[in-house]
């Protein structure tokens, strides 16, 4: 069984492309079911964040599986594969494992070391577990990825400093406003990154925070958490002139703040500058807002630039993290191949036993004057014969110290005895860590 990864990220696609391929977090059942329904795809997890959209799957047919996943991404979102293809990457085997371990450890993030990605993958995995699209391999695979990420976080300093998109936003705000102590932050919508950015602003010291949400209860709940003022979504444009820094992260499929709104709002606040941070994918704020005098708009992509200078320091820590990832890949593959071996042995024994039983039954059914106890002895004889025959190959396969040869044996056995070894479905979900 092979693990394959197909997807795109901030490294291969701009936000304009990513937002077209994104999956809504509340509607994951349909795409997950659709992926596992594809021929030769047995398990699937879909990760969709503002910086990446990736499908992790297991398949027997690597090339075919990748092609199907690519086709799925294009078809599901109604895009042409020709257009999308150039933004997609695909990995299998060790490369796939390394990729996912790196993503979970935030080594592939826009801001290397930012902590949000791990939570986002856990959430994505939660959906896959809930809708039963992930099985024994991906379960184990992602749990391994989480533990690698945890090791990286505790054993390196990669996430210790506050460098993140959120931190970058605070730094930029300081470059616009200087002092933030008399500035007001407005949160539109909720979301982990948005809330994190708000926390950074509060820690830096702002004079006030306002929160709005389409569901007022959620706004109130968040407002309580931040000691902020909840405002009704309908009042957004009444309150907007009071806000200096606007963090937007709604799930709206279209722009909620447009150029003319901002022109109007700025007049009402006597042209005092406004800093818009659009964390949502698809975007909440019309990019033309940046053309308005005294309005500054940054999307998740733009925030990347701010932390570029900090990346040098991070590289040293990242090198340590890569070493941890490499080490863990070795361990994971040991397990993965043992997983391949066990069902193979089971299938092999089943096949032998079926033949044995069938032949035994055939023999016994035509045997009229069978002496008492002979049936038991024949049963024992054939069993012993079968076990002796299988003993050596079984113990050879169970040895885990032979590297790639195991795969070879498993493959040969499967072909020689025409075995089907679908990985058994199993649930092992513990998302709490």
């Amino acid at each position: 069984m092979n693990i394959i990864v197909v997807g795109l990220s901030h490294k291969t696609a701009a936000v304009e492309i990513r937002e077209k391929v994104a999956f809504a977090p509340t509607q994951m059942e349909k795409p997950l079911n659709a992926v596992v329904a594809l021929p030769d795809i047995t398990e699937a997890v879909i990760v969709s964040t503002c910086n990446r959209v990736e499908i992790y799957a297991t398949t027997r047919d690597v090339a075919g599986g990748m092609a199907r996943l690519k086709r799925f991404l294009a078809d599901y979102h109604g895009l042409s594969l020709e257009m999308l293809e150039k933004h997609l990457y695909s990995y299998h085997g060790e490369d796939a494992t390394r990729h996912v371990f790196r993503v979970a450890s935030s080594l592939d993030s826009m801001v290397v070391g930012e902590p949000q990605i791990l939570g986002q993958i856990k959430t994505s995995y939660g959906y896959a577990a809930e809708y039963k699209s992930s099985g024994i391999i991906l379960n184990r695979f992602l749990h391994k990825a989480f533990s690698v990420a945890k090791r990286v976080r505790t054993e390196t300093k990669i996430a210790s400093s506050a460098v993140s998109v959120a931190f970058a936003a605070v730094e930029l705000a300081k470059k616009i406003f200087g002092e933030l102590s008399d500035k007001t932050v407005l949160l539109i919508g909720a979301g982990e990154m948005c809330e994190l950015a708000a926390k950074h602003f509060i820690n830096t010291g702002v004079s006030g925070v306002m929160v709005t949400n389409r569901t007022f209860e959620r706004a109130e709940k968040l407002a309580q958490e931040f000691d902020a003022k909840a405002i009704k979504f309908e009042d957004l444009f009444d309150q907007l002139p009071k806000a200096d820094i606007i963090l937007s992260s709604t799930g709206a499929p279209h722009f909620i703040i447009k150029e003319k709104d901002v022109t109007e709002v700025l007049k009402r606040r006597r042209m005092k500058p406004m800093f818009f941070i659009d964390i949502a994918v698809p975007r909440d704020i019309d990019p033309k807002v940046n053309d308005v005098e005294n309005a500054f708009l940054y999307t998740v992509d733009d925030l990347n630039g701010v932390v570029a200078t900090n990346l040098e320091q991070r590289k040293i820590e990242a090198a340590k993290a890569e070493a941890i990832v490499d080490q863990e890949i070795g361990q994971f593959f040991k397990w993965l191949s043992s997983l391949e071996v066990t069902p193979t042995i089971v299938a092999l024994r089943t096949r032998f036993d079926e033949i044995r039983k069938a032949e035994l039954a055939k023999t016994l059914s035509g045997w009229k004057d069978l002496p008492p106890g002979a049936e038991k002895r024949l049963e024992a004889l054939t069993n012993a014969y079968m076990n002796k025959l299988l003993h050596h190959p079984t113990s050879l396969l169970k040895r885990t110290d032979q590297g790639n040869r195991n795969d070879l044996y498993v493959d040969a056995l499967r072909n020689l005895f025409d075995l089907e070894t679908g990985a058994p479905q199993e649930n092992m979900v513990d998302l709490e860590d």
């Binding site: 406003f177 006597r270 570029a308």
Partner: protein, 271 residues
């Protein structure tokens, strides 16, 4: 003595400018510090030159282009030193010292001989009128430099070019604030310079206002800055718009000062 002090000032300002510019483009804190102390030293020498000139001439040494350009440069550096200390922003120097150096260098192009004082200028009003006018000009010059910084920083922010220079330049609001403060200092000074000029004109020429080109252009300059300040205070003109208007105002002010003296004949055409 005069020439020695003047040339020393020029050399020190040039060195300070070089260090301030190095501070702008290179990641060296040291360059900024050296520039700062060089400029302060240069300012003292420049003050010495001006005082010496006053003692030699026996009247306020702002009577011809050489002297007034030198005083303009001195006032610009003086006001800058105050703002640099107040806002703790060395990087401003990278934009203001080249301007001060340029003004002083222009001054060197005109004759430094102390001429006999034009009888019309023999008045107590000379000191009041000219010093106020040039302090006002200096404040506008600083506003001009800071406005250019604002436009650059605003460009960086809008285009998301967040390189090392962006990191060095001060926050937009601070630049906007400095520019505004400069205007609130420069505008009253210009106003008083015009009023004192009118009173002086009445005593010297018998009329408060004679629509001499200098007077006309001063009034135009005054109206531009008045409009800018009015816009800022009432409708909240700020940011790029205010910065561009401040730059425009400075250009008109330069014409009022130099263009009128050199190109348009009139009562104020001292060379």
């Amino acid at each position: 003595m005069n020439a020695l002090l003047f040339n020393s000032t020029m050399v020190i300002y040039a060195a300070a400018t070089a260090f301030y510019l190095a501070f702008l483009v290179k990641p060296q804190e040291m360059a900024g510090r050296v520039g700062r102390w060089l400029l302060r030293t240069g300012f003292l020498v420049h003050c010495g030159f001006t005082l010496n000139r006053y003692l030699e001439a026996g009247h306020t040494p702002i009577t011809n282009l050489h002297e007034s350009l030198s005083f303009f440069s001195l006032a610009t550096v003086g006001i800058f030193i105050v703002f640099e200390a107040r806002y703790k922003s060395t990087i401003m120097g990278s934009f203001v010292t080249p301007l001060a150096l340029l003004i002083l260098a222009t001054s060197a192009a005109f004759s430094s001989v102390i001429p006999p004082l034009n009888p019309a200028l023999k008045s107590k009003w000379l000191a009041v009128h000219t010093i106020m006018a040039f302090l006002g000009y200096a404040a506008f010059a600083l506003s001009f430099g800071v406005s250019i910084m604002y436009l650059i920083q605003s460009h960086f922010l809008k285009k998301r070019k967040l390189g090392p220079m962006f990191q060095k330049l001060p926050p937009l609001d601070m630049l906007d604030d400095i520019s505004y403060r400069c205007l609130t200092i420069g505008f009253p000074l210009l106003t008083f310079a015009i009023i004192s000029g009118a009173i002086w004109a009445e005593t010297a020429w018998g009329t408060y206002w004679s629509w001499d080109p200098k007077e006309t252009w001063s009034l135009i300059t005054w109206f531009i800055y008045a409009a800018l300040l009015h816009g800022r205070m009432t409708t909240g003109w700020r940011g790029r718009k205010a910065a561009m208007l401040s730059i425009f105002g400075f250009a008109i002010m330069l014409f009022t000062f130099l263009g009128v003296n050199l190109l348009l004949p009139g009562l104020h055409s001292y060379k």
